[in-house]
């Protein structure tokens, strides 16, 4: 018996998924705890004692939440188009995040800001360039020069001799 709103994007499906996800995480915690002493060790309760019980509790509470969802009213998780807007912010962010370790902070940041300003926000070139070049420059002055906190560096910074 499936209702029309129960497809992907339905509130009930999302609630159920979240509860099952929490229960699954509880399962991982229990599995991890079982690799350790879950009872009484030489220094009192063993390393697995606390996580095992937390994990079991989590599975229990999440299971109740999931069961309650079977009786809940159907509804929308997000308005139409909302998930796409979220994805269009999240996907470039993820690329930016992955690029930080190999390429450093500054180059990916400039490209990320340029992409977001030009493609997503449809800003003009002057605004987009000001944002994309000004922000990393401001970050450099603030963190590296003024506060002395080094940010991630990549091949470009190395080639320019900036450390």
């Amino acid at each position: 018996m499936s209702r029309p709103d129960d497809r992907l994007g339905g509130r009930r499906a999302a609630e159920l998924g979240m509860a099952l996800g929490a229960a699954g995480f509880g399962g991982v915690v229990v599995l991890g705890a079982l690799q350790h002493d879950t009872g009484w060790g030489p220094t009192g309760p063993g390393a697995g004692y606390f996580p095992l019980r937390i994990g079991l509790l989590l599975i229990g509470v999440a299971a109740i939440l999931a069961l309650l969802q079977l009786r809940a009213a159907a509804g929308r998780f997000a308005e139409p188009g909302a998930l796409r807007r979220v994805a269009r912010l999240l996907a470039p962010t993820l690329v930016f995040g992955i690029a930080i370790a190999p390429l450093g902070t500054y180059v990916p940041m400039a490209l990320f800001l340029l992409w977001m300003a030009r493609v997503e926000a449809r800003a003009g070139w002057p605004v987009a360039l000001a944002l994309a070049l000004g922000t990393p420059a401001a970050f450099f002055l603030l963190f590296e020069t003024w506060l002395g906190v080094p940010l991630a560096k990549g091949p470009l910074e190395e080639a320019l001799g900036i450390y």
């Binding site: 937390i54 989590l58 807007r85 962010t93 970050f139």
Partner: protein, 503 residues
């Protein structure tokens, strides 16, 4: 009373040019953070934290707490002018603050909000000054069992009194507690829940989690909403402030009641959000002008604002004296304290009086500085809100990712923060509260240690948590709070059943 000389010494610590400068900087960053979407007080404190590692702890806590006061005020600004709460705790301010602004009384609403915030904060600090030593002395009698009972009380208070679905609050707490166990076990040195991954040996930093959950998650949630930002322009003139100041005593009942609610909710771990809602609800019920609430009634601004700040300020006392934070922001600061090498708890009052009283004295000064600065700078900060979200969001995102990287210079942390961002977005959409998870991540290790030590002392006998009247009453109170949702449901059901035959 030993408080006064200690406080005077605190003022000597707080009133240096360096610390005054930090207060001004902290308040200004805080207002900005409170105004911008995706940068709330907990996230702002987490982002600034890596920069404080090289400062003396007193200076660090003065900077971070000043930022907290600024963020609370910035949150109220956007609530009133834009109907967008910058902080969860200023949601209740939108109910009457924004209608007032739409009626052309924006300046009045803003000055009222800021002055009441100042009053609430002052009431909170004065209370802290008076009771700090007593609470610390009281906490000196705590053994591990009492500590575990207090942590349990904090967790159960969130479930029973937090206002969100108790089951979802419990899930949030338990996930936080699980995350806290990842990494090296402090007692046995065993690697827990790392599944052979080197990245997880250090554990999951709560700073990374806070940046993801509150910062990136909030940005994703804002991208989800389509609402156009339509603000009301306002400039606060000195004359309007003075006029409001003169009229303020008219609301003395609301002021005192809301301050009391706020202080209580801050000292017990209810937090500013619960305090402001409770205060608004009670004011609407008991005020003579209760019918006007929701349509631009000044008392509807006075009540939540006073409570919000009274709670925010007093939430720092249990953090210092017991190591139990009363709000999400206080939880982040508590984590900071431990990173700076300070051990929160009653001994802090004996070992580091300069730190404790320097902070308390700075709270008097910084809140005054904050109210003056926010009144002077409202138009500037309000104009930040008019920048298009499409440009603001990537900029704030860049700040969040850089902040996550700075925590320990690891690319893994950046990805972890994005993961927490997705989780925070889902939690927000599905009404899972986020604060309990952060609280549990910060307190998890301490709670577990306290539990294991108590078990060791009692040789595994759980009755240690009822072994004397102190620990027994805290544990019982905690369990009562935990059972409160069920009890309330039963009571309501009982009342309905007994009414039915009569009808």
């Amino acid at each position: 009373m030993e408080g006064l000389p200690a406080l005077l010494h605190g003022f000597e610590v707080a009133l240096t040019a360096y610390h005054l400068g930090l207060m001004v900087a902290g308040v200004l960053i805080g207002i900005l953070v409170g105004v911008l979407p995706g940068l709330g007080a907990p996230n702002g404190v987490a982002l600034l934290m890596p920069l404080t590692f090289f400062m003396p702890p007193v200076s660090a806590i003065i900077l971070l707490s000043s930022m907290y006061w600024g963020a609370l005020l910035g949150g109220s600004t956007t609530s009133i002018l834009f109907n967008i709460p910058g902080e969860p705790s200023s949601v209740a301010t939108t109910f009457d603050g924004h209608p007032m602004a739409k009626q052309g009384r924006a300046a009045e609403a803003l000055s009222l909000a800021f002055l009441c915030s100042g009053f609430g904060a002052l009431a909170g600090v004065i209370t802290i000054t008076i009771v700090a030593d007593d609470i610390a002395e009281f906490a000196l009698r705590f053994s591990p069992a009492e500590y575990f009972a207090v942590y349990l009380l904090a967790f159960c208070a969130f479930i029973g009194m937090g206002g969100a679905n108790p089951l979802k609050t419990a899930v949030s707490l338990l996930v936080g507690l699980s995350l806290a166990t990842i990494g090296m076990d402090t007692v046995s040195g065993e690697m827990r829940l790392t599944f052979g991954q080197d990245e997880l040996v250090r554990g999951i930093s709560f700073l990374v989690a806070v940046i993801g959950l509150f910062g990136i998650g909030e940005l994703l949630a804002t991208a989800d909403e389509t609402e156009k930002v339509e603000g009301i322009r306002a400039r606060v003139r000195l004359a309007a402030v003075l006029k409001t100041l003169v009229e303020l005593p008219r609301y003395w009942v609301a002021l005192l009641r809301s301050a009391a609610i706020g202080i209580w909710m801050g000292l017990t771990p209810g937090g500013p959000t619960a305090a402001s809602f409770m205060s608004y609800g009670i004011a609407r019920r008991f005020s003579k002008r209760g019918d006007n609430f929701g349509r631009g009634e000044p008392e509807g601004v006075v009540s939540p604002e006073t409570s919000d700040h009274a709670a925010g300020v007093s939430a720092l006392l249990p953090m210092l004296a017991l190591g139990v934070p009363g709000s999400a922001t206080a939880a982040v600061m508590l984590g900071g304290l431990m990173i700076w090498g300070l051990q929160p708890g009653p001994m802090l009052f004996q070992d580091r009086p300069d730190f404790v009283w320097g902070l308390i004295a700075s709270m008097y000064v910084a809140n005054l500085v904050a109210v003056v600065l926010v009144l002077a700078t409202v138009p500037i900060f309000a104009s930040v809100m008019r920048a298009p979200f499409g440009l603001l969001a990537p900029l704030i995102m860049a700040i969040c990712l850089t902040g996550a990287w700075m925590v320990s210079g690891s690319g893994f942390d950046v990805l972890l923060a994005i993961g927490f961002g997705v989780l925070g977005y889902l939690m927000k959409k599905l009404d899972y509260p986020i604060a309990p998870m952060v609280l549990a991540m910060v307190l998890g290790d301490k709670a577990e240690d306290a539990f294991r030590q108590s078990m060791l002392i009692s040789q595994g006998n759980l009755t240690v948590f009822w072994s004397n009247w102190l620990v027994g009453s805290i544990t019982t109170l905690a369990l009562l709070l935990l059972a409160w949702p069920v009890l309330a449901w039963l009571l309501r059901g009982g009342v309905q059943l007994s009414r039915r035959p009569a009808a």
